[in-house]
């Protein structure tokens, strides 16, 4: 049943010693051993998460006044963080759904972690719209639930309400997709467990997965259905988030280009975050054979593509502002580039547009240090993109009399850094108790795309080079 794959194609699983058993051993290993490093990191990020809770409690107890907002700038870091996290949460679905539909096999190495990252990023993102409310205790008002107040209904015209639906849908589907994929792997861990409790817990987590053919058939169908469901979500979530701005009247927000621009930006930042995490995980858990340089290079290609789309979007905005002749629109962009927030604009431009251009070079795409540093740059740049859009547009809009400046307080900072801690904390828990690579799916491509299989095939065919050595083969080919 395995499709033939050219030997010139770079293998997705490295190591000539790989067997199904070895794969199982390698991938389950992180959940079966104790690690001091892990404990240190969990404690650190746990403390950070507690500080996050503290800052939120501070906000709720004293009021939104503890943030740096003012009468002119009603949103700043709160919604910046929200959009940033939602954007990061984009890669997971893209990898699991769209790449599945496009039959990109390299997704198997990274989809599990990317999906987990999505879930955690969306959790972090969701905090901000909730806690940016002045009266968070009345948050249930945003749900269209029958009530005794009339009934008083929500306002279906409001993009904020669309956000509620978009994000909750996205979260539910992503969670379902992620979890259903985990079931066979939980069963694998269960089957290797020695402790009774451990066995029992993983059994419950795997919903009693037996690995029967019928189950596998249903599993595959469910994956495809969920992939089909999530594909439009990849486009819709950030489109709807962009409507928060695009449907308003504020120059710099009121822009029709926002939906594609936001989606491209989201994929851009999502892949960058996947890279940041994966580069650490493959090192920490000795997974270099499964998350190969080939994987990294593929992701870098997507980053240079989406980064360039974003760059074109920035330039298009500027062109349209000039071309429109609209007074306030022109000022908004003029002010963005040369106003009091120019530093933010130039950080954004450098990180998002200039830095990914290194990836036109193969050596850069395959250089892990470059990739790691640039992935951080992209994340910084994308945060600034949202900050630039939200804050500079609000700070100086129509009436000159109301212009203002935003400076964050320690609470703003605490909530932002705290949310990163929460994200990492959840990811660490995930990496310790869940298989960070989809075992079953990796095994599914073992016969076609692994180095071992390719070597075996070459041997059987009596290849003269005596086993597959990629680099040598490639070199020969290119000569």
């Amino acid at each position: 049943m395995h499709a033939y794959e050219s030997e010139f194609r770079e293998p997705l699983i490295n190591g000539l010693d790989k067997t199904y058993t070895k794969i199982t051993d390698d991938l389950v290993a992180p959940t079966e051993r104790n690690s001091t490093m892990w404990w240190i990191m969990v404690l650190l990020t746990g403390a950070g998460s507690l500080f996050f809770v503290f800052c939120l409690a501070w906000t709720v107890w004293f009021g939104i006044g503890t943030w740096g907002l003012n009468k002119t700038i009603g949103w700043a870091w709160d919604i910046t963080n929200f959009v940033w996290w939602i954007g990061i949460g984009h890669a997971g679905t893209l990898i699991s759904a769209i790449l599945l539909l496009f039959r990109q096999r390299y997704r198997t190495g990274i989809n599990r972690a990317a999906e987990a990252m999505t879930i955690f990023a969306v959790i972090c993102a969701g905090m901000f719209p909730i806690f940016h409310m002045g009266r968070v205790w009345d948050a249930p008002f945003i749900f269209p639930i029958p009530n005794t107040r009339g009934p008083l209904w929500v306002n279906f015209n409001s993009p904020l309400l669309w956000d509620v639906f978009a994000i909750s849908t996205y979260f539910s589907v992503s969670l379902l997709f992620w979890y259903s994929g985990l079931m066979p792997d939980f069963a694998t861990i269960r089957d290797r467990s020695k402790g009774k409790l451990r066995k029992k817990l993983y059994n419950i987590a795997s919903f009693g997965w037996q690995g029967s053919a019928k189950q596998w058939q249903r599993f595959e169908s469910l994956s495809l259905i969920l992939a089909g469901l999530s594909t439009p979500l990849v486009l819709s979530v950030h489109t709807i988030v962009s409507f928060d701005f695009a449907t308003s009247v504020i120059p710099g927000w009121h822009t029709t280009i926002f939906p594609p621009y936001f989606v491209a930006g989201a994929i851009f930042s999502g892949f960058a975050m996947v890279e940041t995490l994966m580069l650490i995980v493959r090192k920490l858990f000795n997974l270099e054979d499964y998350i190969t340089v080939n994987h990294i290079e593929s992701m870098n290609k997507i980053i240079v593509l989406t980064g360039s789309i974003v760059g074109i979007a920035y330039l298009t905005e500027l062109f349209i502002a000039w071309y429109s002749g609209a007074l306030y629109e022109q000022f908004a962009f003029y002010n963005r580039i040369l106003g009091k927030y120019l530093w933010a604009y130039f950080i954004m431009m450098f990180c998002n547009v200039v830095s990914p251009q290194f990836y036109w070079f193969k050596s850069m795409r395959r250089n892990l240090w470059v990739t790691f540093i640039l992935s951080i740059f992209v994340n910084i740049g994308m945060w600034f993109e949202r900050f630039v859009i939200i804050v500079t547009s609000l700070a100086d809009d129509y009436l000159v009399s109301s212009w203002a400046y935003f400076s964050p307080t320690w609470v703003d900072l605490g909530i932002y850094l705290g949310s990163i801690s929460v994200f990492l904390f959840l990811f660490l828990l995930f990496s310790r108790f869940f298989p960070v690579i989809a075992i079953a799916e990796v095994k599914a491509i073992f016969r076609t795309s692994s180095e071992a299989a390719k070597a075996e095939r070459a041997k059987a065919e009596g290849a003269t080079h005596g086993g597959f050595v990629l680099r040598g083969a490639m070199d020969k080919y290119s000569k």
């Binding site: 009468k71 002045g134 009266r135 008083l152 129509y398 000159v400």
Partner: protein, 1028 residues
């Protein structure tokens, strides 16, 4: 009608025993709950389980009820309802306000016996058009926690009997020894009080009544004495003048009777398509003021040049010479061309010589008898600067053994040093202040006077115009009207109410003929608040002998001033310092600089940039460099602020700040500069040679309107935004859409695909005439008081979180050195196509069928999306619990913002909260709020009309800002009413909406500003901070 009875069954028809007993019960069956309690367990229907259920429920209920701390709310019902008070219905009482030198004939609105709002008395012949910001804010001082609650000896509380006895004995001893008693007061305009003082004098003949005004008008009084033989201020009639020339006189803001002047001034400057005429106003001034900015032509000169300008006017108009300053020469020619009696020259200087010249000029122009009349001179300013020196010297020399301070705070406001120590030398010193101030602390005794809203009083602001002040609330504390105190000490019957009546019967009743019988007269006058009797002779003979010497002396004074000159001025909000403990006024942005909670050194922006003061050009922090101002060896350090229109070489600093003895340290802002005032002859002079050195210090200044540093050409259209529109009279005469030509095109493009809502019924609309608005800020404070708008304090204003629903935007046009200014009151525009409404996820803000953009506070969850999407930025968010509106108790004070005003300013105190308008919800933390068009006032007007079964008339429904506005700039009403004023304004050719091209369809429109002058300036908003 038949009296058939219907029966439901045999039981009822026959009235059987069982039926009757059941029918009388509310519930036919026994209630099971009750049975479990009332019946013994063994015998009843209830069993063990019911008992346990009951037990469980009652224990839980008791535990819940006992463990939750329920707030105790004290409410006491009326046992006997006062005749006039209907809960929920406001009563209005005519009264007269005269506090801190500011007069207003007013109506006091009370609710359930509490005064909560001041409205203009439209029947007044002095201030009928509106009120000042200070009058509006004065209700708060009634409920000020800093008020004295009883008499005091030093810091010790005593009773009135103790005070009367001790002071009585001391007075007798002093009188017996022939020691002099000084009664030191601000100008007193109450004839009855003056009569009380003369009664006191007859009991203690050594008493001297010394009158001193902190902001001095000695110069004008002395000059009139010299030239007319009468120490007084004639009536200025700005409505009649065709050409008005102001020389350093801020007559729209602070000078003599600004509320009256503003009304008169604006009445002659209203234009429409039919009447394309208005007066011409030229202002020559050093300190930028709203008066200067409203002028058609403003000539910005240094303080010394103000004096030279006056000499120029004198030499051209009176002496027949020529002017050194060509611009001033042109002004003089214009004055001459206006024709006899058609002009008015108002001079603000406190230099007697300057005022003598002003009189000579007005005399030569024939203005006495028309625009300046002596029939009703002002009583508002009578103080003499000499008085203060006399007092300090007398106290030090020991000639004054006793000193009383009435309505004055000289320890704070004295330019003469050493008053506080001198007071200690007196054998007896008493302050009648009703709240804590520097003089009260220095005096031995405090015998607190009532607040004006608690007292009977009268007033004579102008000769022959008498007003009554009536109490609108029973006195809150153990205070006593100062008149009763003085009468008591003089050994006279001490009932001031009777005393006033007797005084009026003897002295005023006879001068009128309208009412027959004193009581008919009295009742009507108290109801109306005013009676006008014959005034003095309209003209006095002019003696110009002093003029030529005055001119040469004045020239010498001007020449004596150095290159850098400072001028001290009175701020429109806190006045001479009397109001600096009033948070409503502290938070009112100065109309010129838009700075709150501080005084500062105003300088020319050009000079400012040149000398390196421009340390925070983007206003990221609102940080300013601090400069050290030195005058005559005395110095003060204040932030230096560049304000366009300040001439180079001029520094301007407001008096009235830096009060040290105030109830809360947050109210002690700025620096006291009274000590820096100079002296010229007997009078204090507010102009002096100064030096200014930059210090290393910086200060955060709570400025509410900041422009940013965008000066590279007009890229981005910063200069061509048509937020305000203006034209000149010449253009307007030719074309009544002048300045507003682009509107036709905008309206043509106002098309929509959507269904347009029909708007039958009322359609509330506001039109604001930019030509009339002088930016004074009375509307802002009126709005605050009417709508319980929180005061947030200096720290929060620095963080740009002021809560004002109505603000006044200030736009400059022209050059930095001498710009034109347009004031634009900006409030919720109640857009018919409101961007805020569609973005609220919970529909907390929505549109009424009368065109109001409404807020449902209870529904608001505080996403702030509406505020972000408001192109006018008029929505205000409750960042903290500013007025203790919800269950969270006082938690903000410990947060990272320390100075949230409400705690320190007492808005959490039950006493201070009495100022809140019960018709308006106090907003809790986390909700958005904004202008409601005073919906509570609209509803009550509609109800009134409905009760009387008639159509609501035009002008019945009013907003608080509208009634406060002295210039009538705000026109409000129902646009669907064919005869309404607002429809006329709405359809005027000058009308435009702010940024209406984005299709917000605002229900607030503005009318183009028209300036009466030849040249046309091209419109552009300038940015002024960066000229390098």
């Amino acid at each position: 009608m038949s009296d058939k009875t219907y029966w439901k069954g045999i039981e009822e028809k026959e009235q059987l025993e069982g039926f009757r007993s059941v029918a009388q019960k509310e519930f036919v069956d026994e209630l099971p709950v009750l049975s479990s309690i009332t019946e013994p367990i063994s015998t009843g229907k209830s069993n063990r389980r019911d008992f346990l259920k009951m037990l469980g429920f009652s224990v839980t209920a008791a535990a819940v009820a006992a463990s939750c701390e329920m707030p105790v709310r004290k409410s006491i019902p009326y046992i006997w309802r006062p005749e006039e008070i209907v809960p929920g219905i406001a009563n209005y009482y005519a009264s007269a306000f005269y506090q801190g030198g500011d007069f207003g004939a007013v109506l006091v609105k009370t609710r359930e016996g509490r005064p909560i709002k001041i409205e203009a008395n439209k029947q007044s012949s002095v201030t009928k058009t509106g009120t000042s910001a200070r009058a509006q804010a004065s209700v708060l001082s009634l409920y000020d926690g800093a008020r004295f609650r009883n008499p005091k000896r030093a810091k010790e509380n005593i009773t009135w009997e103790q005070a009367d006895n001790e002071i009585g004995i001391k007075l007798k001893t002093i009188a017996a020894s022939g020691g002099k008693i000084a009664l030191f007061s601000n100008t007193i305009i109450s004839p009855s009080t003056l009569s009380v003082i003369s009664d006191f004098k007859s009991a203690y003949p050594t008493t001297e009544h010394i009158v001193y005004d902190a902001v001095s008008y000695s110069g004008i009084l002395d000059a009139n004495e010299k030239t007319f033989g009468k120490r007084g201020i004639p009536s200025y009639n700005f409505a009649k003048a065709k050409v008005i020339v102001g020389v350093g006189a801020d007559f729209l803001g602070t000078w003599i009777s600004p509320t009256e002047f503003a009304g008169d001034y604006a009445s002659n400057r209203k234009v429409n398509s039919e009447k394309r005429e208005m007066s011409r106003h030229i202002q020559i001034e050093a300190v930028p003021t709203i008066t200067g900015f409203k002028a058609d032509t403003r000539i910005a000169v240094k303080p010394s040049e103000e004096l030279n300008a006056l000499i120029d006017l004198y030499s051209v108009i009176v002496a027949g010479g020529s002017a050194k300053n060509a611009k001033v020469g042109k002004v003089a020619e214009e004055l001459k061309a206006a024709g006899a009696g058609n002009s008015l020259v108002a001079v603000g200087s406190n230099d007697t010589n300057a005022q003598v010249l002003a009189n000579a000029i007005n005399q030569a122009l024939g203005n006495y008898g028309t625009t300046l009349t002596w029939d009703r001179p002002y009583n508002l300013k009578q103080g003499s600067d000499k008085a203060l020196t006399t007092l300090v010297e007398g106290l030090n020399a020991g000639t004054y053994k006793a000193v009383f301070f009435l309505d004055t705070n000289p320890v704070y406001s004295s330019p003469v040093a050493g008053l506080a120590e001198a007071i200690k030398k007196a054998e007896l010193s008493v302050s009648f202040a009703n709240r804590v101030d520097e003089t009260a602390v220095a005096a031995q005794y405090v015998c607190p006077d009532n607040h004006w809203l608690e007292s009977w009083n009268d007033a004579e602001p102008k000769a022959g115009i008498f007003n009554t002040t009536q109490p609108t609330i029973s006195k809150l504390f153990d205070t006593r009207p100062v008149q009763e105190t003085l009468l008591k000490w003089a050994g006279k019957p001490a009932d001031y109410y009777e005393y006033i009546q007797k005084y009026w019967e003897a002295n005023i009743y006879g001068k009128q003929s309208k009412y027959v019988g004193f009581w008919a007269f009295w009742d009507n006058i108290v109801h109306d608040g005013e009676v006008v009797v014959a005034g003095n002779a309209a003209t006095l003979s002019f003696n110009g002998a002093a003029a030529s010497t005055a001119a040469s002396e004045l020239a010498a004074t001007a020449a004596g001033l150095g290159a850098l000159q400072v001028k001290f001025y009175e701020s429109i909000a806190v006045g001479d310092g009397f109001w600096s403990d009033n948070p409503y006024l502290q938070e009112l942005p100065d109309p010129v600089s838009k700075i709150t909670w501080d005084n500062y050194i105003m300088v020319s922006p050009v000079w400012y940039a040149k000398n390196g003061y421009n340390i925070d050009p983007d206003f990221k922090e609102k940080r300013y460099a601090v400069g050290k101002l030195t005058v005559n060896g005395k110095s003060v350090e204040l932030p230096v602020v560049g304000v366009p229109g300040t001439p180079e070489g001029t520094l301007a600093v407001a008096v009235g700040y830096g009060r040290e003895v105030v109830a809360h340290s947050e109210l002690s802002v700025g620096k006291n500069v009274y000590g820096l005032l100079g002296k010229s002859g007997d009078n204090f002079t507010n102009v002096a040679t100064a030096t200014l050195t930059k210090t290393d210090k910086t200060a955060l200044v709570a400025i509410t309107q900041t422009h940013f540093n965008i000066t590279l050409q007009d890229l981005g259209g910063i200069k061509t935004r048509k937020l305000v529109k203006e034209t000149t009279l010449n253009e307007y005469k030719k074309n009544d859409t002048a300045g507003n030509e682009d509107r036709a095109a905008i309206m043509e493009e106002m098309v929509t695909l959507y269904y347009e809502h029909k708007r039958p019924g009322h359609r509330w609309t506001m039109a604001i005439d930019l030509n009339s608005c002088d930016g004074c800020g009375a509307c802002v404070v009126a709005c605050n008081i009417e709508n319980n708008v929180p005061i947030v304090g200096k720290d929060q204003v620095i963080r740009a979180r002021e809560m004002h629903w109505l603000r006044i935007d200030r736009y400059y046009t022209g050059t930095v050195e001498n710009p034109d200014v347009v004031f634009q009151p900006m409030l919720c525009q109640h857009c018919d196509n409101a961007p805020c409404e569609n973005v609220c996820p919970v529909a907390a803000t929505n549109h009424s069928n009368e065109g109001l953009n409404q807020m449902a506070y209870n529904r608001c969850i505080g996403t702030r999306y509406c505020a972000n999407n408001c192109p006018y930025k008029v929505r205000r968010f409750n960042w903290y619990d500013y007025q203790q509106a919800d269950a969270f108790d006082k938690q903000y004070g410990t947060s990272n913002d320390q100075n949230v005003a409400s705690e320190t300013l007492g808005l959490h105190e039950p006493l201070t909260r009495m100022v809140l308008n019960p018709d308006v919800t106090v907003r809790s933390r986390g909700v958005m709020e904004k202008c409601s068009f005073c919906v509570q006032r609209l509803q009550s007007a509609k109800l009134e009309a409905k009760k009387e079964n008639r159509v609501l008339g035009d002008g019945e429904a009013t907003t608080a800002c509208q009634t406060a506005c002295a210039t009538g700039a705000i026109i409000f009403g129902d646009r669907n009413d064919k005869n309404s004023e607002v429809l006329k304004a709405f359809e005027d050719k000058r009308t435009f909406g702010v940024i209406e091209e984005i299709h917000t369809m605002p229900n607030v429109v503005y009318l183009t500003q028209v300036r009466n002058r030849e040249e046309t300036k091209q419109y552009e908003i300038i940015d002024y901070y960066h000229e390098s």
